[in-house]
């Protein structure tokens, strides 16, 4: 049996360092918010021909909104592995439909073989950007409250509290890494974070369920022993499930990266992969040990006393 409880302070320390480093990154560099949150325009164009960055730059030069906009070259492959046409992605501030059409026309004139069917133009006004950000925060908050309620109902309040702490820990660590690597945060990222919520709660609850069961079967309540035993009993399952989930996610990541080149979905998958790692880690090293620590406190809150006190 591995002594998770005895070593829990090391895990806490590691997590605190990670969260602290992430917080510093978020304060100094911040998150790389995408157009969903800030408003803006993204052109992803398949120009149909080889092109140089200078040529692409020349096409956007007449448009002052796009001054200084970064041009990113996208290179995908078809299913046989042969490279497809090079494309480009330009990110700029919000432009109204007339301005966007003008940019598109400019490219169409300069690159007559441009393939609109393999392109996209997305534009989000500033009003919507703010709304989507609020919507994201609201979804996170509502999901947390709903999960606290359910876990309190099915287990007890301290389980819920420990689970939510672990969840917030996961979100902070993933956000920190995203800030540090300056990966773009868009609406799908929020969906990924929420899925990671579901995933790590899933993982945590299975361990909690074991703790609940093991306590009922014991006469003397040695919580340290019980928690350690429960984590250990669940270890193989935690690892195996993470592995199978990672298999599919990594297949997806490799597929998108290799064949599509660049896509918002890659970031979505990266968030999920990070989430699976952090979620598994926290369900083993943070959630259950934290519950143990919470035993020292008394809460006068309603909740089914599934765990004997």
């Amino acid at each position: 049996m591995i002594d998770f409880i005895g070593n829990r302070r090391k895990a806490y320390l590691l997590s605190i360092i990670l969260i602290f480093a992430g917080a510093i990154s978020m304060i100094t560099v911040g998150l790389n918010l995408g157009i969903d949150f800030t408003g803006g325009t993204v052109f992803q164009l398949n120009l149909g021909d080889e092109f140089s960055l200078e040529e692409a730059q020349a096409a956007i030069d007449p448009y002052e909104e796009l001054e200084g906009a970064a041009i990113q070259v996208v290179q995908g492959r078809d299913l046989a592995g042969d490279p497809t046409d090079e494309g480009l992605i330009i990110r700029g501030p919000y432009m109204d439909d007339d301005r966007r059409d003008a940019v598109m026309e400019e490219f169409q004139n300069r690159f007559p073989r441009m393939d609109m069917a393999d392109s996209r133009v997305e534009s989000v006004g500033p009003v919507i950007g703010g709304e989507l950000a609020r919507q994201a925060v609201l979804s996170l908050a509502v999901a947390i409250v709903a999960m606290i309620a359910y876990i309190t109902y099915r287990f007890e309040f301290k389980f819920a509290l420990a689970t939510i702490f672990a969840l917030l820990h996961n979100v902070l660590v993933v956000l920190g890494i995203f800030s540090f690597l300056q990966l773009e945060v868009n609406v799908p990222f929020v969906a990924a974070i929420l899925t990671v919520f579901g995933y790590s709660v899933n993982d945590t609850i299975v361990i909690m369920d074991r703790i609940r069961e093991n306590i009922q079967h014991r006469k003397k309540k040695d919580y340290v022993e019980v928690v350690n035993q429960s984590i250990n009993q669940n270890l193989v399952r935690s690892i195996n499930t993470s592995l199978t989930t990672l298999f599919v996610l990594i297949a997806l990541l490799v597929g998108f990266h290799y064949f599509i080149g660049s896509l918002d979905l890659i970031i979505f998958v990266i968030a999920l992969i990070l989430g699976v790692f952090v979620g598994t880690y926290s369900s083993i090293f943070i959630a259950s040990p934290l519950w143990l620590n919470l035993q020292d406190y008394k809460f006068n809150l309603p909740g089914r006393k599934a765990v004997g006190n």
Binding site: N46, G76, A117, E122, P188, L194, L246, L252, I260, L265
Partner: protein, 413 residues
């Protein structure tokens, strides 16, 4: 204690597995050909998504009635363009969401949707004579006898006819202005008293522009002005390519998971693998039967749920192994393993379901599609793990295909 091998039951098991594999292959194949009856979102199928905000025009407030009328008018305009399965729906108090799959000319579509198309005939004294509300018919015509350029011919309803007749009598020999969205497009001089309520708009346009104007006039003027808040235009090839890659990745991921499960859990792993293939076809089937929309995040969610679907089986198998280690017989270990794992699976999955419900209520667009897909995925995986795997395991046990702990991956010591 060895259990007797029963060839009859074993054959049933094999046939069942073959059926599952065949159905899995079939649904996968159909999904790859998009022949599965599942509706694709605009991010996959390609198309134009727009979120418009209604803004008051001079004399009309933005209320439910105005939004409803605007939607009806936009629908008429879109239908005339021949776009299939358009979505035009109110969102919030003053917004209209428009989704147009398979659009050829997004610029034209936007032009046609957004134009208020307020037509007014105004006399030389600035008095309004008649508006587009009294129009009965409008169409583009070409007639060299009337005009060298294409024009729009109009026909008013009864009230419009009377107003028009009175005005042409009053302003005989004077110019009348025809305004579209407060812009003068034509200023003909009245040369006859028109009692049949017919008029033409001649202007500097080609036939296509004349048709577009006629279309706008036919559908009526928007009661409110629409302003763009958000617009996403995705080409059909781009989304299709992504879906193809995702399908290939899903297949590869599934194969890896199967391999892992068989290596680790042996016969039980093979059964879990069968359950997983069954699960995949089940999800695809359910998705095709429900009016849901599959989006790219939705596909990712689906693929993620494949990985997670195995979880229930892993929980069950680990439970069975635990029970075996504590000295139970295989039969009772299997039964109590399933029973005890059930509660954990239920609680764990319900919390994930809560997240998807929150997302469904609060989010919009592709994320909402993601929530629906994940929700369906979780329900199907619970059903598969709790009902289907159990059934297969029992069958395998009875057939003698699972004879000892080694068949569940317990190392003999």
């Amino acid at each position: 204690m060895k259990k007797a091998f029963k060839p009859g039951l074993f054959l049933v098991l094999i046939v069942l597995c073959l059926v599952i594999i065949a159905s899995g292959y079939w649904s996968f194949h159909n999904a790859a050909d998009r022949d599965d009856g599942i509706r694709r979102g605009l991010d996959i199928a390609g198309g134009l998504y727009m979120l418009m905000e209604a803004v008051e025009t001079g004399d009309r407030e933005v209320d439910d009635d105005a939004i409803d009328r605007a939607i009806a008018i936009i629908r008429t305009r879109i239908d005339e363009l021949g776009v299939e399965e358009p979505v035009i729906a109110p969102q919030g108090d003053d917004r209209i969401r428009i989704e147009l799959p398979d659009i050829d000319d997004p610029e034209q579509a936007r032009e046609i949707i957004g134009r208020t198309a307020m037509l007014k005939f105004v006399g030389p004294d600035g008095e309004e004579i008649v508006t587009g509300a009294n129009l009965d018919r409008a169409r583009a015509e070409r007639n060299p006898e009337i005009s060298p350029r294409p024009f729009v011919s109009l026909e008013f309803d009864r009230e419009g006819r009377e107003l028009f007749a009175a005005a042409t009598e009053k302003f005989y020999g004077e110019p009348i202005s025809i305004l579209l969205d407060d812009e003068v497009i034509s200023e003909p001089v009245v040369r006859a008293i028109i009692t049949e309520g017919q008029a033409t708009i001649e202007g500097d346009f080609d036939y296509e522009e004349a048709s577009e104007l006629a279309l706008l006039l036919r559908s009526g003027s928007l009661p409110v002005e629409l302003r763009e808040l958000e617009s996403r235009l995705v080409g059909p090839t781009l989304g299709q390519r992504t879906e193809e890659i995702a399908a290939v990745a899903a297949g590869a991921g599934l194969a890896l998971v199967l391999l892992f499960m068989i290596l680790y859990y042996r016969t039980a792993g093979l059964i879990a693998g069968m359950a997983l293939v069954f699960y995949t076809s089940l999800v695809l089937f359910v998705l095709s039967q429900l009016p849901t929309t599959l989006t790219l995040p939705g596909i990712a969610g689906l693929i993620l749920s494949i990985g997670m679907a195995v979880d229930a089986n892993v929980i069950i198998f680990e439970r069975i192994k635990d029970e075996l280690r504590s000295g139970r017989t295989l039969r009772s270990a299997m039964e109590s393993g399933f029973r005890r794992a059930f509660r954990a699976i239920l609680d764990a999955n319900i919390t994930t379901l809560i997240v998807t419900i929150v997302l469904f209520i609060l989010a919009s667009g592709p994320v909402r599609g993601f929530a629906i897909t994940l929700f369906i995925g979780i329900l199907c995986s619970m059903f598969t793990a709790i009902v289907f795997t159990r059934f297969l395991m029992r069958l395998a046990f009875k057939a003698g295909a699972i004879q000892s702990g080694a068949y569940v991956g317990v190392k003999e010591s």
